[in-house]
């Protein structure tokens, strides 16, 4: 009886919380449209804090940061959004505009990487798994009695596993480590984890790097596709908006 009451209470509260979130979004959007970008960003961050880690909210947050001229945090928000809603046209356009305006240019992705970027990790895994399971079922059925239709369907499933599995592999391989974005306007890559090491290449705000390892407060990163070095952890903001299962 107590459980039933709890469920009932939860069912009543959920719409209320969604309504509150919608109201918060409407207010943040209004702030944004009226040029109060800091207030808008605050509102979008509030939604994220409430668990609304959606592509739409991150997209709006990225826009607010971009308007504020905070290219680093804008890039973080857009990258988070791209992991959740990678086929959103507005998002791809805004993220592209921001990337083009940055001082550091990332290497152009290959065609396969570009194709893989249109899917989330979850979509690719689920699609590949779907074809894999159906294909396995067909194979079992086929062992009982072989038919041309089943053979054709088996081929389709194999192709599906190959395409989606292949894109998943490409997507995973293109990410050299955990993605993160440079926040300060300019930082130096050191060839070791400390100020005593030699500073080399300079990275600029919004540059996307991949964290390969860490030592204390320092992070070893791969930047601009091929340069490796060390940055302080405080100079980076990780791209971890959606939980891994939702990307």
């Amino acid at each position: 009886m107590r459980k039933l009451l709890c469920l009932l209470l939860l069912a009543l509260l959920l719409p209320a919380r969604a309504e509150a979130a919608a109201a918060l979004l409407a207010k943040a959007n209004a702030d944004y449209l009226q040029g109060r970008y800091a207030a808008a960003a605050e509102g979008y961050r509030g939604l994220v804090a409430q668990g609304w880690r959606t592509g739409e909210v991150y997209y709006n947050l990225g826009n607010a940061y971009a308007k504020l001229g905070d290219q680093g945090r804008a890039r973080v928000a857009y990258e988070n959004a791209l992991q959740l809603t990678p086929r959103d046209g507005d998002l791809r356009r805004n993220a592209g505009e921001l990337a083009a305006s940055l001082a550091d240019k990332s290497p152009a992705p290959s065609n396969l990487e570009l194709a893989a970027s249109y899917f989330t990790r979850t979509e690719l895994v689920i699609s590949a798994s779907f074809f894999y399971w159906v294909g396995a079922g067909l194979l079992l059925w086929q062992l009982k009695r072989k038919t041309a239709t089943r053979t054709a369907l088996l081929g389709v499933c194999a192709l599906g596993v190959l395409v989606f599995g292949g894109l998943w592999v490409v997507r995973e391989r293109s990410q050299l480590g955990e993605p993160a974005v440079v926040i300060p306007s300019e930082v130096s890559l050191y060839d070791g984890p400390g100020r005593d090491f030699q500073a080399g290449l300079k990275l600029h705000e919004g540059s996307l790097v991949y964290v390969l390892g860490s030592r204390g407060d320092w992070r070893e990163v791969a930047a601009l596709g091929r340069v490796q070095g060390w940055l302080r952890a405080e100079e980076l903001e990780p791209v971890d908006g959606g939980s891994p299962g939702d990307r």
Binding site: W52, N63, G137
Partner: protein, 607 residues
């Protein structure tokens, strides 16, 4: 980057060994189908005078129209003759087939004296051709060679130290001249900087002509980038403490990818040489030659790679080591606003250009800047890796007027000067005329190009983090397929086992059945006998024999190789069982039980 293929053959140095006293003989014969064939044959030697144990190379070339070539080598005293190469070419012009064949022979001189090679005859389709005879002379082993050796470039032990053959290069000191072949390896720099070119030099020293190509197994180059150098190999004569050698030299460029101690493990060369063996018979002063296959190894070469200095390292340094120059240019000097121009930045010079990072562009606020693409052109000249790395960037001017692109800098480390250098391209000017700038390319800041906000919250993620074991579920389909296949296999095995089991129990079942004869009358006993016997065959042979007549059963057993006596016994027992149907009441077939059991036992043994 090109790596030498392990085991790839070095070019045979035979063609570079025309000198030492040797004799080559070649023979070619052509047969043709074409009656009007134009037949020509020529022969040449690389030297006319050699000493015992040395060799002469003989080449015979035959030109003819199409035909089957059958070489015919004349007997030549005083030489051991080995075929060392052949070359066959066929061309078709206006339907006419012509053939050119060249055979090469190495002839080892065994005995001093004057000899004549040929004439070498060739026959083709009824036509004949022959070469001019060639006179050669073989001198005793220690006899000095005449100074007027014809067509020879090989160093000779009799030549004065200053009369070296063409291309002669002195050998480094400390080499051992007691071997007829050996190999050395070295690097031109044992303490290079990171990414500085090191040249690995392998030298194969040969005192005699090799047979066939040499096999080269390059050293392991873990920790290095490898660039094959041009020319791939070169040969030259030399002397090691007065003994003439020919050297085959192979060079490879290496670029260390990490600082510290590196080792180049031994390279190996396989070569087969003609070796003179002194005869054990005192009466035979000349000896004879035998081919000897050798595997030669170099010593390990150690390289201590230095890190690049941290002092004075420019901020834009991207790892390039060498000596470079930089140029920058636009493909147009005048362009309308909104129209693209290509900015080409070229870095060229000595060093591994593939390691050059993109040249950072200065802030170009009045241009829209697209991604940079790069290409490399690696060249190898005079055993040095040089090249050009070109970066192309599309720029779209956003404002009219004279625009200036300046501040294009590139930094590299010069290992010779042991310091970093930064070079800057001269400023480039571009006249931008009025034009239509697309909305996308307007010089507006990125803030003004953004699409508007979303009014939907989107779907809230479940926040579900799949546990690891969920991934293991993916193995289920594979396990299911494996299980089904295994099950099918098990069933097949079990069926086979069942058949075997039936066979092993056939006699026991028959005996059990026949025991009933003790308690049933003759009429039923006949049925029992038939049931037991046919059941036995059914189990033992896997066949149903119930419907068979006695003759058919007998024929079947005969086909199975059963002895006639056994078949006769069985037939008699079965006939008795048949007849028992008409036996008077009270009679039994109990007396047949033992007989039948024995017959069936013997049949089982026989089967």
């Amino acid at each position: 980057m090109v790596k030498p293929t392990p085991g790839s053959p070095l070019p045979s140095p035979i063609s570079y060994l025309p000198s030492k006293a040797l004799l080559i003989l070649l023979l070619v014969a052509l047969l043709g189908m074409v009656a009007s064939a134009q037949l020509q044959v020529e022969a040449s030697v690389d030297t006319y005078t050699v000493r015992e144990g040395e060799s002469i190379n003989l080449t015979v070339s035959v030109d003819a129209q199409a035909g089957d070539v059958s070489p015919e080598l004349p007997q030549i005293d005083g030489f051991d003759v080995y075929e060392t190469g052949s070359n066959f070419q066929q061309t078709i012009v206006n339907g006419q087939v012509s053939t050119r064949m060249a055979l090469t022979y190495t002839m080892i001189a065994k005995k001093a004296g004057r000899y004549t090679i040929g004439p070498i005859k060739v026959a083709l389709g009824g036509q004949q051709a022959e070469t001019q005879p060639i006179d050669v002379e073989v001198l005793p082993p220690n006899h000095p060679l005449p100074g007027t050796q014809a067509q020879t470039q090989t160093p000779s032990a009799t030549q004065s130290p200053t009369a070296h053959p063409q291309g002669f290069e002195p050998a480094p000191p400390g080499l051992d001249n007691t071997k007829s072949a050996f190999v050395t390896a070295e690097v031109d720099r044992s303490n290079p900087y990171l990414n500085q070119q090191i040249t690995y030099i392998l030298k194969l020293y040969l005192a005699a002509a090799p047979i066939g190509p040499c096999g080269y197994e390059p050293p392991e180059t873990t920790g290095f980038l490898v660039e094959e150098l041009l020319p791939h190999s070169r040969t030259y004569p030399t002397e090691v403490d007065g003994r003439p050698y020919y050297v085959v030299e192979e060079r490879t460029a290496l670029f260390a990818t990490s600082p510290g101690q590196h080792s180049l493990n031994p390279a190996r060369v396989r070569v087969t040489l003609q070796q003179m063996v002194q005869s054990v018979f005192a009466a035979d002063p000349f000896g004879y030659s035998v081919p000897e296959e050798m595997t030669l190894s170099t010593d390990r070469v150690d390289v201590d790679v230095r890190s690049l200095p941290t002092e004075g390292r420019p901020a834009d340094f991207g790892g390039a080591v060498g000596d470079y120059a930089m140029e920058a240019a636009l493909d147009k000097t005048t362009v309308a606003a909104g129209q693209p121009v290509n900015l080409t930045v070229t870095v060229s010079g000595q060093g591994n250009v593939n390691l050059i990072s993109p040249v950072a562009l200065p802030a170009l606020k009045k241009f829209r800047v697209y991604d940079t693409t790069s290409t490399s052109n690696v060249q190898k000249k005079d055993y040095e890796v040089t090249g050009t790395r070109t970066f192309r960037t599309v720029l779209v001017p956003l404002e009219e007027g004279r625009q200036k692109i300046e501040g294009l800098k590139f930094s590299y480390f010069d290992p010779e000067a042991e310091q970093y250098k930064t070079i800057e391209a001269p400023a480039i000017t571009l006249d931008v005329t009025p034009g239509k700038v697309s909305k996308r390319d307007e010089g507006k800041p990125v803030q003004d190009k953004l699409a508007g906000p979303k009014t939907s919250l989107g779907t809230k993620p479940l926040g579900f983090q799949p546990p690891t074991w969920l991934g293991l579920l993916q193995a289920l389909p594979l396990l299911a397929v494996a299980f089904v296949l295994g099950l099918a296999s098990f069933r097949r095995w079990r069926e086979a086992s069942s058949s075997e089991r039936r066979q092993s129990l056939a006699l026991r079942r028959a005996k059990r059945e026949l025991k009933k004869l003790r308690s049933v009358n003759a009429v039923d006993g006949g049925k029992v006998v038939l049931s037991a016997v046919h059941g036995f065959f059914s189990d033992r042979l896997g066949l149903t024999t119930f419907g068979l007549s006695l003759e058919e059963l007998d024929r079947l057993l005969a086909e199975r190789g059963l002895a006639p006596e056994l078949r006769a016994h069985l037939r008699a027992e079965l006939e008795a069982a048949e007849e028992a149907r008409y036996a008077p009441a009270g009679q039994t077939l109990a007396t047949h039980e033992k007989t039948l059991c024995r017959v069936l036992f013997e049949i089982e043994e026989a089967l």
